[in-house]
């Protein structure tokens, strides 16, 4: 076995896991209201908060605002990055992202409709998003299928662009109709994306979905490796390419739609994180996907810290930060690396 590679793989995972702890702490500590580190630590460890001037306020900020927000950041970053890594594997293309098949537009439309119809209840939002996302992917996949034969990647991507544009138009129309009302703010949220609405209920819904989706995708990571050799080679290795692709597209649709439901559309995490991790850890999806997930979680929490602090006391949508960091990096990759589409 290639000893050097295994060693560095282990090292990458250790570094990533070690980085997670300070990232989490920083996410809870940093914010517009100053809370002493000692308070934060004692809350997190579970000791009664009796230090400081107004412990109850500090506790409330930590437990109801900052901690849920950081955990949502972890889950969203994790889900987007692992979805992006999976899509890049399915399409054998480093330019693919979780949004490539119009999932995000479809999910946003679904979530927007839920809001416009005044449906309350925490499960409606992800459900609406999932229905919208699945609808978009279903239409795209149907369009790209050539009379029961293999699915062409080019047609998939083009159909994804078209269907995505259509759903975006529907969402924009919804915003137009609701202009001047409270709902408009809610709807614009999906265009911008952000972690500001985090609460424990969201986390309870999102956590099992992300766990389930990640396990399935990691279980299929071997299939992604084989698919990278070409669909026929994958078949000769005992893998049914069409089945694998469908399973993975469904799971990515589930993950991405749920994330969109609670955090809107946050760009570039799912595009650049898998890309960077592939450069660091290599293309073997059995290691790449978990590493990408952890890195995505860390990256989004850090980006959210920046979003909260750059224009303090106001707050930037986190998508601005990710795009601000991601777009130049992406252009750099485009310029220096030979990228085939």
């Amino acid at each position: 076995m290639n000893q050097k590679r295994t060693y560095s793989r282990r090292l990458v995972f250790i570094v990533l896991l070690v980085l997670t702890v300070p990232t989490l702490l920083a996410g809870v500590i940093i914010g517009p209201v100053h809370i002493p580190i000692s308070d934060t630590l004692s809350y997190l460890i579970g000791r009664g908060a009796s230090v400081g001037g107004s412990p109850s306020v500090s506790r409330l900020i930590i437990s109801q605002i900052r901690l849920p927000r950081v955990l949502l950041g972890l889950l969203v970053g994790w889900a987007l990055a692992i979805s992006g890594g999976t899509m890049q594997g399915v399409f054998r293309n480093p330019l693919a992202s979780p949004y490539i098949l119009g999932i995000a537009s479809g999910a946003s439309t679904g979530a927007a409709l839920v809001i416009l119809m005044n449906l309350h209840g925490v499960l409606f939002l992800p459900l609406g998003a999932f229905v919208g996302g699945s609808l978009a992917v279903g239409i795209v996949y149907r369009l790209a299928q050539e009379r029961g034969k293999k699915t062409s990647v080019y047609t998939l991507i083009l159909a994804g662009v078209a269907v995505g544009a259509f759903f975006s138009a529907v969402t924009s129309f919804g915003i137009f109709l609701s202009s001047g009302t409270e709902r408009m703010t809610d709807l614009i949220f999906w265009i911008m994306g952000g972690l500001g609405r985090a609460n424990w209920t969201y986390l309870c819904v999102l956590f099992p979905i992300v766990t389930f989706g990640s396990l399935v995708v990691i279980a299929f990571s071997r299939d992604l490796n084989a698919l990278a050799m070409g669909e026929e080679s994958a078949f000769h290795l005992g893998i049914n390419p069409e089945t694998s692709k469908r399973v993975m597209l469904s799971v990515v649709t589930l993950l991405t739609s749920s994330v969109v439901a609670f955090a809107g559309t946050i760009g570039f995490v799912g595009l650049i994180i898998p890309h960077i991790m592939r450069l660091i850890i290599g293309p073997d999806h059995r290691f790449l996907l978990p590493a990408t997930a952890i890195a995505g979680a860390i990256f989004l929490v850090l980006a959210d810290i920046a979003a909260r602090t750059v224009v303090r006391p106001a707050e930037l949508p986190v998508g601005i930060i990710t795009a601000f960091l991601g777009a130049p990096f992406f252009l750099y990759l485009l310029k220096t690396k030979k990228m085939r589409i």
Partner: protein, 417 residues
């Protein structure tokens, strides 16, 4: 493992690609499918491997119909190496070959010692160990081809399908791959390969199947099947089929179709017949081609002088490679000399095979039209035990003109004609 293909039909978008293919192979056999481009070779392989499903008919591995097996079950007994490989990401060579073990591994399994052993053996067989840690995307076409062969071997299959396994390989690796094919067949693998090189098929396959417009034209031993008539029918090409005395297999050489593209000589000073071979005629042919109409003989299509003469548009008297000059070729050659205004004998090495070219010259009535280039060196080029030397001396004695350089030869000829 035996393969049986029974009445296989396949069509794509309504147009039939394969028709009535019935073929069977035994364990340890190497069968080569040959046929012109677009005859359906690749499609046939894909139908056999289960990538494509036939419209009618069936493929059996031993007694099991392949459509009843899952991809994983198929992958444990049959694998295929495609012609083109587009790898999505920069996996290392070893990582790619290790994927050959996927059919035997669970979803979360790690590589076992047995896996590692198989991978190592496959890498050694395909001569890829030396670049095991390089990226697959950096490799040349030929190196990639060997990596994918190694991946297939690591899979430990009983049936191996190869689509143009030598397509990107230089001659050294072509032979290496064919040697691996024979070794694996001897070890019990059943190997079916689509190959466009008829000579490799003739030399390394137990049986050859000629595919022509989706039908099997003929199946059988190379010597029985690779005939001039069959090849003409399938490929619309004129060939000479001879026997390679070194490998004892049939040897197919192309004969140029009359080229209409070559311009005629501007103005012919006269007709010359050149006796050459083994490259000895190159300088002479080049010097004389732009003034004389040339004929060359007797040369074999494997000879470099043959190819040059062909390019220059010379008339050729040919014989199959490695074969002695037949009475037919001898007569044709003599006739070409008689109808020429002059005959040039180049500094050609003479052996028993081409000695009749000198005997023919000696039969000519007027020896003063024969030009011999530097006859004094004949003893070093004589591999007939003095026979060729004797003939050259006879020719000189009976009036043939001795020239010491090509310049001297051309000035002689130009002043004369």
């Amino acid at each position: 493992m035996d393969i049986t293909i029974n009445g296989l039909h396949f069509s794509y978008d309504g147009s039939p690609i394969l028709r009535e293919i019935t073929l069977s192979m035994q364990k340890g056999e190497v069968l080569a499918i040959v046929g012109p481009n677009g005859s359906g070779k690749t499609t046939l392989l894909k139908n056999i491997s289960g990538v494509l499903t036939p419209d009618a008919g069936a493929v059996y591995l031993d007694m099991k119909q392949i459509t009843d097996l899952s991809p994983r079950e198929i992958s444990r007994c049959l694998t295929a190496v495609e012609q083109e490989h587009e790898v999505g990401f920069d996996f290392t060579v070893r990582e790619v070959i290790a994927m050959g073990r996927i059919p035997y591994q669970g979803r979360f399994a790690r590589e076992t010692t047995k896996d590692a052993q198989q991978i190592r053996e496959a890498m050694e067989l395909a001569h890829v160990s030396s670049f095991a840690s390089r990226s697959i995307q950096e490799l040349s076409g030929g190196e990639k081809q060997r990596v994918f062969l190694a991946m297939a071997l690591a899979q430990n299959p009983q049936v191996l399908l190869l689509d143009e396994p030598t397509a990107y390989l230089d001659i050294n690796y072509q032979l290496q791959i064919m040697t691996i094919v024979r070794q694996q067949a001897a070890a019990g693998l059943t190997i079916l390969m689509a190959i466009h090189d008829l000579n490799l098929a003739a030399q390394y396959a137990d049986r050859v199947a000629i595919l022509h417009r989706g039908r099997l034209l003929a199946v059988g031993r190379p010597a029985d099947i690779l005939t001039e008539a069959n090849i003409k029918q399938a490929f619309q090409a004129d060939v000479i089929v001879g026997k390679n005395s070194v490998t004892n297999s049939v040897y197919i050489s192309t004969v140029a179709q009359k080229s209409k593209a070559l311009p005629p000589f501007r103005e012919s000073l006269g007709k010359l017949h050149i006796i050459c071979g083994g490259g000895s005629g190159a300088a002479v042919l080049h010097a004389l081609a732009n003034g004389f109409s040339l004929s060359v003989g007797v040369v074999s299509p494997l000879d470099s002088d043959f190819q040059l003469a062909q390019c220059l548009g010379a008339k050729l008297v040919t014989e199959a490679p490695f074969a002695p000059i037949s009475p037919r070729a001898y007569k044709e050659n003599l006739a070409a000399m008689r109808s020429s205004d002059g005959v040039v004998i180049c500094e050609t090495p003479f052996g028993p095979g081409n000695l009749p070219n000198l005997s023919a010259a000696l039969e000519l009535e007027s020896k003063t039209n024969i030009y011999i280039l530097r006859p004094e060196g004949i003893e070093e080029r004589d591999y007939t035990g003095g026979e060729a030397t004797k003939l050259i001396h006879q020719l000189v004695k009976s009036g043939a003109i001795v020239v010491n350089s090509i310049e001297e030869l051309s000035s002689h000829l130009i002043s004369r004609y």
